[in-house]
Symmetry: C2
Subunit: 544 residues, 2 copies
């Protein structure tokens, strides 16, 4: 089965998206039979990847199609239940790789909610009109504010540890202590209490912002929405642009989008991913760009790149290495970057750049190796160069007769940060912060020898060695243990500071992956395996 | 087999420790047959836990017994080989729990080297008179400076990923990019290159500080040692104090040290750990304390606590919960803390407090739950209170007729930081930084109701409920999946900033634990299993 990450509101099965002026409402109403795979039913607003793909689409679409929206209310259409979290039977019947990919994607969706709040001024309000357990509470805690109905029954909870022997895998533990700054002893009690906590105590412990009796819930929400709208500094009455479906041709060996090509070399377990640079003479004013809409290169190319990365992650598991190439003119890329940098205060340009940043972070977090290959007719400049800096290694051809150049732009200097909050160049040159001034101060492009001297590339083989060196590097990389590479890359890619996001992806995810392999969770007698069965989990109690 | 963590230089089998004025030399000369378990030989200065217990002892002993030492040279007595790292056959034949505990202890030893450098001014110099591979290079990279002999053969390397399908598990990856700030693309190449790099390139890439031809190696080292001595601001001619063996009585149900008692409730899978407070009227001047030596309560009690924690970790795997209690007088603890705070510039007092901090961090990093139980006749004040704040939860008896108090001291306000660089109280009150001023401003002890109000304890049951509540809490905790608890505690205990240390213990360790469970490493066809055999590893190449 090929998982498709594209959808749109008219295709949603599990969510309803409506907007009314500055307020959007995103209502969860999971259809229990509309599952992505067989063998489970999505009861009680529990979710599988298909449900989360719709949520991710809605969050993304609100940014581009509804700039007028300042408050997004997330709620449920089911009585007395907000969301029961990831479906346990789905998890229990999934492969390890799928569980890991599922958690990563849902985490990226939660982080995109926070990104939208921080950078686009859309405040998210979780209106918990019923119990939010597990991933349901984790969805709420990714919102700016959480309100719970006080009906004597509804609670918030993280029952993963006590009921399933796994962790809340969507950032819940990290956000408890780092975002909501819940005292760690209380977080400990809450995270081991299957039934969770209701209104009064949940508020006292900082798990929710407030609670209202059933009869006052709508009123309470309306008042809170109103004050969020009044406080919103991003008031925006501009019309949005439509995000149309991405078109691509799919063949047995890959996919061809307009600006992105994925060629799979399955026998060798690597893929070539080529990004085509922009055409020359693209518009330079926000008005023209708004008219061009989602056809504008930086938006379309990065949406395609995002889709390609997700496709490779989930549908091409054995592909362990992605070789990134580019085709085009450096000057055309730099012209686009100049437009983006000049107009970054315009809402659409801001959204376009923020999307580029998210796609690049998706790449950083992808459990595959990346080698960038800089050859003739490539266009590794500005935002495209960022793909090379994001790669684990970069090879640049040193041709005696033809010059190959790379170049930086303002986009390399701040607008496209990694999850650790630094630019990729700053992370790269932690030991030589002056190097950044040198690179940005030179105001010219760099040929192969310059680039090697400045530390922008790893190796610069000449014409004679190029093919052999690349071939051997690919063969060597794809021969190594894929697990060891994942752990190594997760350690080497994130030098420098850690943030809540990197803690979620590094610390929490790694622990969860470990637990997802442990017999106490997934073995015959494991808690996840035995959930909902008459049999009980039996643990090997040796603590490690 | 019970693993014993106590040793002393006269018992060392694998290391020789010598001092000459301000220079100590710690020479590795591993005896291949002197292994901790059967089934492997410690060839080529490879190590097992027994070797690292001696190293940890030497680093600790230098701090207390040799305050005059300003430079510690770590080198090898084997020709052409510095250290081959952790023994692969030992790893391959060890249980998962042992591998994890082994890596944690070796990491703590490496961090103690850095702690000694940072806080005690002892600079560590790795004199690599031969190849340093894997854990050998990780030992070197925990030193302040690394010098490699240039004999055409000797190299530094991290061959774990390419040869064994696991990670360098002793902080190597993190220290490459975070401590030595090696460019991540170079770190990627280095960490996948089994043979490693020799002098010139190793220096160019920042993996070592310098290299010398064989004939100039001793001379180069001598010059470097001399300049480190001259730069040392911690010149200290004071005599040291002797660290005598810890005495304890061991029975089937636990251990009785002088100030620490461990009582094992094996059937219920929890332990009671009681710390006895200091006697009254302990000396208050550094001179008297120096005369008292290792019998002084803060040193002896914390050395005992350290040994008890290590014993519980490694020898009592099924014990998943430790209930911490204390016995003594609050005023006596506060008197000791006052002495320690007043004289923290004296070398011995500084070392005593630094050791307390390390032991508390050992507790934070222990994969067991901790509940602190504050009852009548307890002495949870100052440094002893820190044990309660370090615990996952704290229960304090609310007695109607007898007052139970807790109190803070200057030691809670800075000198005993967690690995994340914050005090435990600051980590606890991330959302209410003012709370710290309130607690430290009150200048009195707090009874149960105060303590609950101030957020210093989790629950305060009264006499009638106490026994039942504690019994149920213990039963519930020990019934949960031990793996899920380990992952949960590792996430909740370290709110706030991350440091190189927390990255090593959180991010890197969690990934390594995952890999240590994966069939690609430890399965029948895994790389670790098949190392050194005629069979080859076969990987499941699905990337996760």
């Amino acid at each position: 089965m090929i998982i498709n990450f594209q959808t749109s509101p008219e295709q949603y099965k599990h969510w309803r998206l409506s907007t009314e002026g500055p307020v959007a409402t995103l209502s969860m109403d999971v259809q229990e039979d509309e599952t992505l795979a067989e063998g489970y039913k999505l009861k009680l607003n529990s979710y599988d990847l298909g449900v989360d793909i719709e949520l991710a689409d809605a969050v993304q679409r609100l940014r581009f199609e509804h700039p007028e929206v300042g408050v997004v209310v997330i709620t449920s259409l089911k009585p007395r239940i907000f969301c029961a979290g990831a479906n346990i039977y789905m998890l229990g019947s999934s492969s390890h790789a799928f569980k890991v990919n599922f958690c990563k994607f849902t985490n990226e969706t939660r982080c995109s909610i926070e990104d939208s709040s921080t950078h686009s001024g859309k405040k998210f309000l979780a209106a918990l009109n019923g119990t939010a357990s597990g991933g349901g509470y984790e969805l709420a805690i990714s919102c700016d504010e959480i309100y719970l109905v006080d009906d004597g029954n509804s609670a918030v909870s993280l029952p993963e540890v006590p009921l399933l022997g796994v962790l809340p895998g969507t950032g819940g533990l990290t956000r408890l202590v780092d975002k909501r700054k819940v005292r760690r002893d209380r977080a400990d009690v809450f995270s081991t209490l299957a039934e969770g906590l209701k209104g009064k105590r949940a508020k006292e412990w900082g798990l929710i912002d407030d609670y209202f009796p059933t009869s006052k819930f709508q009123e309470g929400m309306a008042a809170r929405i109103q004050s969020l709208i009044e406080a919103n500094s991003h008031n925006n009455s501009a019309p949005g642009i439509k995000l149309n479906p991405l078109e691509f041709e799919s063949g047995p060996d890959g996919r061809e989008y307009k600006y992105v090509r994925v060629k799979l070399n399955r026998a060798q377990r690597y893929a070539d991913l080529t990004i085509r640079g922009p055409e020359s003479g693209l518009p330079t004013t926000p008005e023209e760009i708004q008219a061009l809409g989602d056809a504008y290169w930086p938006l379309r190319a990065y949406r395609e790149l995002d889709d390609a990365l997700l496709h490779l992650r989930v549908n091409e598991l054995e592909t362990g290495l992605v070789c990134i190439r580019s085709e085009g003119e450096i000057d055309d890329v730099l012209a686009v970057d100049k437009t983006l940098a000049t107009h970054q205060d315009h809402w659409l340009i801001r959204e376009i750049v923020l999307n580029m940043a998210r796609v690049l972070r998706r790449l950083d977090l992808t459990a595959k190796s990346f080698f960038a290959l800089i050859e003739l007719r490539s266009c590794f400049a500005g935002n495209v160069l960022e793909l090379a800096i994001a790669s684990d290694r970069t090879y640049m051809l040193n041709s005696p007769d033809k010059t190959i150049d790379v170049a930086v732009s303002d986009l390399n200097a701040g607008p496209l940060p990694m999850s650790n909050g630094l630019t990729r160049l700053r992370s790269r040159f932690l030991s030589q912060p002056d190097r950044l001034d040198e690179i940005f101060g030179l105001d010219r492009s760099f040929d192969t020898e310059d680039a090697e001297e400045l530390g922008l590339v790893t190796f610069a083989p000449d014409d004679l060695d190029w093919e052999d060196e690349i071939r051997v590097a690919i063969e060597e990389r794809t021969s190594l243990s894929p697990d060891a590479l994942t752990g190594m890359e997760a350690s080497l890619r994130f030098a420098g500071p850690e943030t809540m996001d990197t803690k979620i992806y590094g610390r929490l995810t790694a622990w969860q992956n470990w637990i997802f392999q442990r017999p106490n969770a997934v073995g015959e007698h494991g808690a996840l395996t035995n959930y909902g069965k008459p049999t009980q989990a039996q643990f090997d109690f040796r603590r490690t």
